[in-house]
Symmetry: C2
Amino acid sequence: VLIGLGLFDEKDISLKGLEEAKNSSKVYAEVYTSIWKGSFKKLEKMVGKKISLLERKDLEEEFEKILEEAKEEKIAVFVPGDPLIATTHSSLILEARKRGVGTKIIHSSSIISAIAECGLHIYKFGKILTIPLPEKTKILPQSVYDGIKENLGRGLHTLCLLDVDVESKKFLEVNEALGILMEMENIFNKKVVSLSTKILVLSEIGSDKPKIVYDKIENLLKQEFNLPAVIIIPGELHFTEKEFLNSI
Amino acid sequence: VLIGLGLFDEKDISLKGLEEAKNSSKVYAEVYTSIWKGSFKKLEKMVGKKISLLERKDLEEEFEKILEEAKEEKIAVFVPGDPLIATTHSSLILEARKRGVGTKIIHSSSIISAIAECGLHIYKFGKILTIPLPEKTKILPQSVYDGIKENLGRGLHTLCLLDVDVESKKFLEVNEALGILMEMENIFNKKVVSLSTKILVLSEIGSDKPKIVYDKIENLLKQEFNLPAVIIIPGELHFTEKEFLNSI
């Protein structure tokens, strides 16, 4: 059973998710594919069981062990957000199926739908992109830049996720991501964004103090944003969207 | 406080959502913008309070009343899924802001991210579309058909939601939606789908028995699907996506 922990902390799990964990023989947690701000101590208390953290070094090997155990008993694996947003988790499900191990997904809140909190209509978003960690790419990927351009060409908004490197525990910061965006503009030069383009930063959505800022890139670059965060580049704005953005 | 009820039933609410409802002076529920299969009796028991169902006839007027009350005390409004996916709810938030009433969103699971359960990568979806109820449109909207075509042109998958008419309580069935898709093909005739196109139907995601079928439209037309359901028209498939779809 893959159980989504939801957006922010240990209280974002659903009642169904908690119940499934309680009814499992063993509970694991994988918390590297995205940022989770909850407390494991509290989560263990809620579940009434020890939670084993998976080793980030060799997730594949860890999954192997879990699949073996799951042949005999019910194993729960906690993951941040909605479980299958990280493709790593789809492959765990696929591997389970190949071995005849039954699977179940307990969904939870995810940034993919929670971005609607900024007032942009979810029906007007195009392809989701990820701004890469500079350490991971020698050259900036034009596909990301072109993806934003294609969305804009259709009048669509773009959700940009910030890259995570599971092994090195590196997370791309908002300021770095904005810098990369401007660097891409300089290199690929197709007038997708400029320092005076107004875009959105959504930080700590699902927390008690979500921060949503709609401003020019040059101003956003001067601000501090906590992680987890995402960047949204708006396309054409419906008047209700405009009104909402102006109320932020 | 807008509180998401999540995907399917009363156990899909988060612990945070339940806590917020318990701490509110009054609890309302709006359950018309999408299908919710939970039990209000059970939900009332969980919250320990009476839940007032909003009148479907005049939601605007109901919202007006809530906003007045919210000036004095903490009011919770339950909505299915993740709260701001329905644009009606964004306007409630906007209206609250205009009146200086503080707002809070408690996110929950939504079909927007839960579709990843079919194994298609969420990063490869394009614009979301809604297949309209035939009663609501005299002529079929070409924008929906062209939207699918544009997504396919970029190699992207398309999530098609099924229309709901709040006032008449009408819900588009999967079979009707598939029929409309084929009718659009006949009228607009740009080779987007044919009876032998393999697409996906996801039904009752979040329930104990989610049904996910990947098959040709002609075969899907012969099957029964419970609501809530969505249709997905896949674009180009990554080999891991192919492998996953074949394991269904």
